[in-house]
């Protein structure tokens, strides 16, 4: 081979290598430059700040533990103090200013505010909420143990303990209403009777008259469906009224910062997160995961898993993310094996827990 031909081959080879390198690095780098924005709206101040902070820490943990991805992800946190007015303002800011692609919310009250906004703006919304209305629409999902699962476990426990008369104190709020509607339906055909059902408004502080009404009912156990601080005030006023009947709840006790008030009481909650998640969370924050933290962790990972399946030279759209989310089955999450059903619900299990030495603990079967 002559010297000049060798030169030509060498130059062509270099050009080809450089060209390949340029196009290979250009493709994914351009796509991943525009991050997928995940906004979280939750109480970061106020009575339930400890829960909002727990979910925030779990999402940050999920982001830190993320393996290498095609696309980049950014998380933005907004405080709503669990006030629907502030929720609307926060979510509008996330959509109009931050251009969020996904929004995570906490509670049925605020989730119901976001659902129509997300649907109208075609933004993916995941609610950590029990009211199934939060998942209405193509773009809305729920990751929370559904009332049906919780009530199934609750009724089984009541029957196991031989309890036939149930008294209820419930807050006039969507989440509690959804759980109660399902419970009343499931109790039909059983020998368990709701002997008193006292409803009170959000923000009520004087429960003494409804407690007096309930006291006559001979309930064997009282189910408290309330948020803090109504939950603690109600429990305190029940004690002051001389009610020593056991208390129980579906989720509520872990919404309180004063769980010691419910020492010795059993209740139904979402199933325990996996040990692996709990260990990682504790290493990061120094605390055990709060209620909803594992859900936040899973939601972030579900969104990433769905998005990574999208092959696109531009940033995936929420529409594409939704399509991939609906295909998710048997995803290994912090709350076990997760699947998303046709209604947009991520079904997870419920479990019995108890407050022991001021801490929530699982009750072994």
């Amino acid at each position: 081979m002559s010297k000049s031909i060798k030169w030509v081959i060498g130059i062509v080879a270099v050009v080809v290598v450089v060209a390949i390198g340029y196009f290979v690095s250009r493709g994914p780098k351009e796509v991943s430059e525009v991050p997928i924005k995940i906004g979280m709206v939750a109480p970061m101040t106020g009575d339930l700040a400890f829960m909002g902070e727990g979910i925030r820490d779990a999402i940050l943990l999920a982001k830190e533990n993320m393996s290498s991805t095609k696309y980049t992800y950014e998380v933005i946190f907004e405080d709503d103090q669990l006030d629907p007015k502030m929720t609307a303002s926060a979510v509008n800011k996330l959509i109009s200013v931050d251009k969020a692609d996904v929004i995570i919310s906490f509670s049925s009250v605020t989730g119901n505010v976001i659902t129509p906004i997300a649907e109208q703006n075609e933004v993916v919304h995941f609610g950590i909420a029990s009211d199934p209305n939060v998942a209405i629409g193509k773009f809305n999902f729920i990751h929370w143990t559904p009332p049906s699962e919780e009530n199934k476990v609750f009724i089984e426990e009541l029957q196991r303990r031989g309890i036939k008369k149930l008294g209820v104190f419930e807050s006039n709020a969507q989440g509690a209403a959804a759980v109660m509607a399902d419970l009343q339906e499931r109790l039909k055909g059983t020998d368990i009777e709701i002997v008193t059902d006292q409803v009170f408004n959000f923000g009520e502080k004087d429960f003494r008259s409804i407690i007096a009404k309930a006291k006559n009912s001979e309930a064997e156990i009282y189910l408290l469906m309330a948020f803090s601080p109504e939950l603690e005030i109600l429990a305190k006023q029940m004690k002051e009224a001389g009610i020593n009947t056991p208390l129980t709840s579906i989720e509520s006790f872990e919404l309180s910062e004063q769980v010691a008030l419910f020492e010795g009481d059993w209740y139904v909650n979402a199933a325990d997160p996996t040990g692996d998640f709990a260990d990682k969370f504790k290493t990061k924050t120094g605390k055990n995961p709060t209620l909803g933290a594992a859900n936040g962790y899973d939601i972030f990972n579900l969104v990433v898993a769905a998005t990574e399946k999208i092959i696109s030279s531009t940033k995936p759209t929420p529409d594409q993310i939704v399509s991939e989310l609906m295909n998710i089955k048997d995803f290994s999450g912090a709350l076990g094996n997760l699947s998303i059903d046709e209604d947009g619900l991520v079904v997870s299990k419920a479990a019995i827990r108890m407050i022991k030495d001021g801490q929530p603990v699982s009750v072994s079967e």
Binding site: Q198, V199, K205, S209, P229, K236
Partner: protein, 288 residues
């Protein structure tokens, strides 16, 4: 039928709380003739002042109560001196004063939330374990008895102040006709300032007592003020005795009203009572 004594006691205690709010509100309204919306936030300031003095600084509870009440009185006096008096000097209408009081309420609430956070707090040292007593088959706590006693003492004190002292005569003169009071030599601005001090101090005491009974939060005064206004309208705005009557009527209506229906109707019952009186007897049970 053992629910009846409890409902009566609950009505009395609620009436006592509303009485405390109404007394201060009516005292200020009587002298100034405008709805002072900032009156509610004075209760919140009282509660948080108590929290700061007793829990943060660790002062003796009784000293903390006195300091808290005096502090709130001074805040009320300050509001009058800095905001309402200049507006009165400019012959501002009652609507302007009302709006100014709304601004004061909003600002003070925000300041409380910034300083203390909006998280619900309790003043009681023994949350959930305080002493309670059985009276005629109903249960009442130590704090509730203190609330009742306070309402009685404050009302008695106010009656003595208004009807047995020169200051009280001046207040009543201003309430009847401010201009005429000025003509006869009463320093109306000074008297109104003292009225704001006393009225606000009573509201502060209310906030402290409610704080011990239930707890405190920055917006706690709004609901208390609303109930105080309803009690005033029902009893007769500006009338001390009418306000007390209205307060107890409201307390009983709320508690007996939900005897046979759901507790979520409580607030609706209060407003139904207000609307009924506005339509059929707008001057209230007792004329001024």
């Amino acid at each position: 039928m053992n629910i009846l004594p409890q409902l009566i006691l609950n009505g009395i205690i609620a009436g006592a709380i509303y009485t405390l709010v109404t007394l201060g509100f009516n005292l200020i309204y009587g002298a100034t003739k405008f709805f002072n919306l900032a009156h509610g936030v004075m209760a919140a300031i009282g509660g948080y002042a108590m929290f700061y003095f007793a829990k943060t600084l660790g002062l003796n509870v009784y000293i903390a109560v006195i300091l808290g009440v005096v502090l709130v009185g001074l805040v009320g006096f300050g509001l009058d001196k800095l905001i309402y008096r200049p507006l009165r000097k400019r012959k501002a209408s009652n609507m302007v004063l009302f709006v100014a009081s709304l601004g004061a309420m909003t600002t003070l609430q925000a300041v409380i939330a910034i300083l203390f956070s909006s998280q619900f707090k309790t003043l009681s040292q023994n949350f959930g374990t305080q002493k309670f007593f059985i009276i005629f088959g109903g249960t009442v706590t130590q704090t509730q008895l203190v609330i009742l006693l306070s309402a009685v003492l404050v009302m008695a004190g106010l009656v003595v102040l208004l009807y047995k002292t020169q200051f009280g005569r001046a207040v009543r003169a201003i309430s009847d006709d401010e201009e005429a009071a000025q003509i006869i030599g009463i320093d109306t601005n000074k008297i109104i300032g003292y009225v704001f001090f006393i009225g606000s101090a009573i509201a502060g005491l209310t906030g402290i007592l409610v704080g011990f009974d239930v707890g405190i939060e920055p917006e706690m005064g709004s609901n208390l003020l609303l109930k105080g206004v309803i009690a005033s309208v029902v009893g007769g705005v500006g009338n001390i005795y009418g306000g007390v009557l209205g307060a107890f009527l409201l307390g009983f209506a709320e508690n007996f009203g939900i005897w046979k229906i759901s507790g979520e109707w409580k607030d609706a019952i209060a407003f139904a009572l207000l609307i009924t009186f506005l339509i059929f007897r707008p001057r209230g049970i007792m004329n001024k």
